[in-house]
Symmetry: C2
Subunit: 335 residues, 2 copies
């Protein structure tokens, strides 16, 4: 079951369509989307919705509620639908809210209570209530996966959790927000903060109200998710010391440049302290990346320091993270 | 059973000692080293060798053959020992030979024939005969793992294989040799090739006869291993078009610098073509790293492009890769 059908949801449907043969051939998986709901309506079909038709209906009518023509203007009760639909996995791709985490938190809880494994790309619920959601998942004996919340298509969480077995990650730091990194890169090229922000908006990298990015909330949310998942800390947004990039001036950037440095919005997890703040780093540091790139360096006990770099967003990239979670749930929970 | 007891072998013993409680606590694994052999002798004890004593004997007597005092000057027949010792896993940490792959290839074959899973950090056998070794492993129903051959402690192979499930890596490129990268970085700082090489030798980054690194053989061997493992190609050293960095002059570096570029020894796998050659890359490219760092960028079908960066060598780092392989074999083969 899929809740939300915006850019990520539609990309996910397209990717499912495209990778069906491969998912079956390589992993023995034949995913069937039995229900899909957006903020105007829902569609349900036990034998599986036709994804092509679903995308077409969304495009032409604006809502998946028109899939069956009937009831297209009756508003769907999403929570009721989540509880009643018989599906193994709930995929939530609704919009992030970092103040109250809704509506995703309610979706996730309803899904868990009705025995569904959860895949979400929504940072809100995890940033605000990671420890209790993991507990609830364990209590209901379901899996909760969220690869798409950090790094988009770049498997930052997977890398830390799977690729460093037998070792221990002591600390990590990185650039977790593409929008602010784009702005700071443009300021390095000589633009003022205001012009760089304007440019980011024009290119679609920044929201109309970009405070979530600029003030560091988005990076803080990702940091919280990483800290919980990777180091086992039990923390939420309120445990992050946070400051944004709004106060950075061209003169600060120039001063750093003279030392071969740059100013980046760096998120750090070190000795149980979580920080998001503009920080001077050397241009020779592997996490010195530009444009909308994200980069994280992990410091581990025995295997040294490792950096992973990739684009942190994009519909198709995030959809590919959902597919990864899907495969993992199938391989773990249903074997 | 451990074959070879140089820097990596001893680091592995130290790391086993240090991580015993953790391996048991987190993974339920209690590794026991029943046999260890170096080029002067061997030691065997069914209930497990004392690692502390093994390291001490090696340090004071120069060979693990002196562990039991008896027979210390009788040369061990390694192949016979491999076949006769009853152990689940053979760990080969002998020195790489890229011309004939021995003695490691014989060790590995003898180990597989006697039903042992294999962990090797030796590039020789894999660079020269990857496809047939994998076939032999399948035939004997054992696992062959080699995380330490590429990237040292940096899990480049694991990342590509595990973290991008459901996606397809289309091509990849990277800096796979730390020695040449160190030399090229020093040349960027103004040193001549000869002086940079001298400096690398002094710091222990380059061998006395550094041709394996300088001429690109080491990078080519890693490229072959990656191509086989990640993309499923069936290739060996002879399939790589290779040229080294011996011909690079300061004037080439300067010319590149004027464009904001640098010259790096880049290994590429693209459309089934394998190449190792000095290449101009932008200093803004995430794989532009300096010193002894390695860096690889993977281009995948849906999740975009991702770069992983880390130090490619070091005894403890490579030992941590062996531990990862050990955990994977235990989790896969003995579950």
């Amino acid at each position: 079951m899929l809740v939300g059908f915006g850019i990520v949801g539609q990309s996910f449907a397209k990717l499912l369509l495209a990778s069906c043969p491969e998912l079956y051939g390589r992993y023995g998986i034949k995913p069937r989307l039995v229900a899909c709901v957006d903020n105007q309506g829902g569609a349900f079909c036990e034998s599986g919705l036709n994804l092509q038709r679903l995308l077409e209906v969304k495009r032409s009518k604006g809502t998946v509620g028109a899939y069956f023509k009937v009831d297209s203007n009756a508003k769907t009760n999403i929570l009721q639908m989540i509880e009643n639909v018989d599906s193994e996995i709930l995929v939530d791709v609704t919009t992030t809210n970092l103040e109250h985490g809704e509506p995703a938190t309610s979706h996730i809880i309803a899904g868990m209570r009705s025995g569904k494994h959860i895949i979400t790309v929504n940072k809100g619920p995890l940033a605000l209530a990671f420890p209790s959601l993991i507990e609830l998942a364990n209590y209901n004996n379901v899996m909760l996966r969220f690869s798409g919340t950090v790094g988009g298509g770049t498997p930052i969480l997977d890398f830390a959790k799977r690729c460093l077995k037998g070792d221990r990650i002591i600390s990590f730091m990185g650039i977790l927000n593409g929008t602010t990194n784009y702005i700071l890169s443009k300021m390095e090229d000589g633009l003022t903060f205001e012009n760089a922000l304007c440019d980011a908006k024009q290119k679609g990298y920044a929201e109309a109200v970009p405070s979530l990015d600029i003030e560091g909330y988005d990076a803080a949310a990702k940091l919280v998710i990483m800290a919980n998942w990777i180091t086992g800390m039990k923390v939420t947004m309120k445990d992050v010391k946070r400051s944004g990039i709004g106060g950075i001036r061209c003169s600060d950037i120039l001063k750093a440049q003279k030392k071969g440095h740059a100013i980046k919005l760096i998120a750090t997890c070190d000795h149980n302290h979580l920080n998001v703040e503009p920080t001077e780093i050397s241009k020779r540091d592997p996490i010195y990346v530009n444009g909308t790139l994200n980069a994280v360096t992990f410091f581990s006990e025995h295997s040294g320091q490792q950096t992973i770099i990739g684009h942190g967003a994009g519909g198709m990239e995030t959809a590919s993270a959902i597919i990864r979670d899907l495969i993992e749930i199938k391989e773990t929970a249903f074997r």
